[in-house]
């Protein structure tokens, strides 16, 4: 059994500060982190290996710096990692990204389960998983909350779908995207950190993974961002201060006016 986890390095968007004067996002010192949802995918791959045996592999597409998240995955227990990095991948939308990942996964070959986080924290599209499954021509199950069993040629799992859960049985190989509920990610071990420090992480370029030139990077991306701006948030509200009693009274009157008290 070979379990491949796709991870992404993202800016730590939750720490973004906006300069109150210039209204600009303050980027300096904002660290890059592993996409928080990907920890659940990494953890689940490790648990699959513990339960059913096999090898765990992590891959990431990104700039050379993205190697850091792969190294982190090794510190958590992942066996091997590959970085997909090439200037030719720049400007990839989800279709080109998923194509690039699929070429790397085909190169690794002989895989049983591909794991992705439900979405990345920066773009929040959640599209790469299902699109990747299509490039690999394997079934996809999104929003998986539990893996019940993995046998020779099939997997049984539970997935969330809006207001209910479904128990599903899929042949292998399969791609799943996982939600927080699935597990509690572990922390890196000392042994893992030492291993991560020494690990060789090969970088694969477009040439290494092969494929159709027209499907990589900006050329392979049907969608194009034509404009980016900061949302204007403004509302002419009133702000009141005072003693707790007064404030509670103001609230009470306001709720009365709104017809709910």
């Amino acid at each position: 059994m070979k379990y491949i986890v796709c991870i992404k390095q993202v800016p730590d968007t939750m720490d973004v500060k906006v300069d109150p004067e210039t209204k600009r996002i303050v980027r300096e010192g904002v660290p890059s982190i592993m996409n928080p949802y990907d920890y659940y995918a990494v953890e689940e791959a490790l648990r699959l290996k513990e339960r059913f045996g096999g090898t765990t592999i992590a891959i990431s597409m990104g700039p050379p710096q993205a190697e850091a998240v792969l190294r982190e995955s090794i510190s958590l227990g992942i066996d091997e990692a590959y970085l997909l990095s090439d200037r030719a991948f720049a400007g990839s939308d989800t279709l080109a990204t998923s194509y690039t990942l699929s070429q790397a996964i085909k190169k690794i070959g002989d895989f049983s389960i591909i794991l992705c986080g439900r979405e990345a924290m920066d773009g929040s599209t959640g599209q790469v998983g299902p699109e990747l499954a299509e490039h690999l021509e394997i079934p996809v199950i999104t929003y998986v909350s539990k893996i019940i069993n993995v046998a020779e040629n099939q997997m049984e799992c539970v997935r969330l779908l809006e207001d209910h859960y479904e128990t599903l049985k899929s042949p292998l190989p399969v791609l799943i995207t996982v939600i927080k509920e699935i597990n509690e990610p572990r922390l890196p071990s000392l042994k893992g950190m030492l291993k991560a420090k020494k690990a060789q992480i090969p970088t694969w370029t477009k040439q290494d993974i092969g494929g159709n030139d027209a499907q990589f990077g900006q050329d392979g991306s049907p969608t194009k961002v034509v404009e980016i701006w900061r949302p204007e948030i403004k509302k002419e509200g009133k702000i009141v201060t005072g003693e707790p009693d007064e404030l509670a009274e103001i609230l009470f009157q306001e709720l009365k006016k709104l017809g709910v008290a």
Binding site: L161, T167, G237
Partner: protein
Amino acid sequence: MEIKVNKEKCTGCKICVDVCPSGAIEIQNEKAYINEKCTLCKLCVSECPVNAIEVIGEEKKVSTLDLSKYKGIWFFAEQKKGKLSHVAYELLGISLKLARTLEEEVCGVYFGSKGEDAAKELFGRGADKVYVVEDTSLDEFRQDIYVCLMTELVKKYKPNIVLASATMIGRSFLPQTAARLKTGLTADCTDLAIDPETKLLQQIRPTYGGNLMAKIICENHRPQMATIRPKAVEEAKPVGNRNGTIVRDDFTSFNATCRVDLISKQEVEQTIDLQEAEIIVSGGRGLGDGKNFDMIRKLAKLIGGAVGSSRAAVDAGWIPYPHQVGQTGKTVKPKIYIACGISGAIQHLAGMSTSDYIIAINKDPNAPIFKVANLGIVGDIFEVIPKLIQKLESK
């Protein structure tokens, strides 16, 4: 295409460093340098005060499709147990808005039982045509089947635009459909428009955790596809008795099979439907502890509201995820939204700032939540809310 800094013009002012959403610009020897993180978004180009950032080389424009053959605005009319979901009306609403500029037919696409009833509902709110694939088995969402049906219908009838709601169903099957059709898909849009000149679909969505808005187009591929955030756009209103065309395709003609078997379904015990609630009382980090949500629940109950929360409260394990409002939770648009002890991180604002009336209670007068509040109460929630609860109880 490449983006480069003209070192002679660059003054090293660092504006571009702050502007870049990808952190791809560094200052080296007092000049800006664009590194490998660049995603070619070009945001820096217009922000540079001395026009030192240049776009080099043109983008390739290759289209093997005859784009003019693709006509019509399609929306996927999601159903639950054979009854149309409210998101179908939202998609119809935005489709009708697009049709005003685009002047093309607005068509629903319906998979499930009771196709005729669904079609009539949609005609009654302004749809021109409804493509129906009817079968009781389709009341259940099955990824492979839905992808197969949508792909084959698109190939057969060639729509210009295909929309689905960004529900778990839409977000699951539309990406795979787009990949099979080898076209673009924009996730989680909050608004759509038609460029009056090019007639292209402009897809507007928040990105980078709601810190930025992006406008995205799909120029050379068809159909132009997007998922739309639930509650982000207005529902189409009933317009009286209208007729429309039902186009039926026989389910068996698709030979659709599903590789994944459904073994069983477990309904979740009545979770809250935040998106349907007219009043929401939300708690955040300021509560300090999960048990303090009791106060929020009490207040919500007294005024007939549902309980929401910020991401911080969910991450701390104080309340389960279905209560989360924000970019990575639910987008809500209630009549009244009361934020208690929520600072108002942009990711939270992205999910609630369009509520009709917002009340914020926070002890920090500089909390960003006050920027979107109609009424901001600067005070300690542990002092103000119990007193408010007293007043509500004794009225």
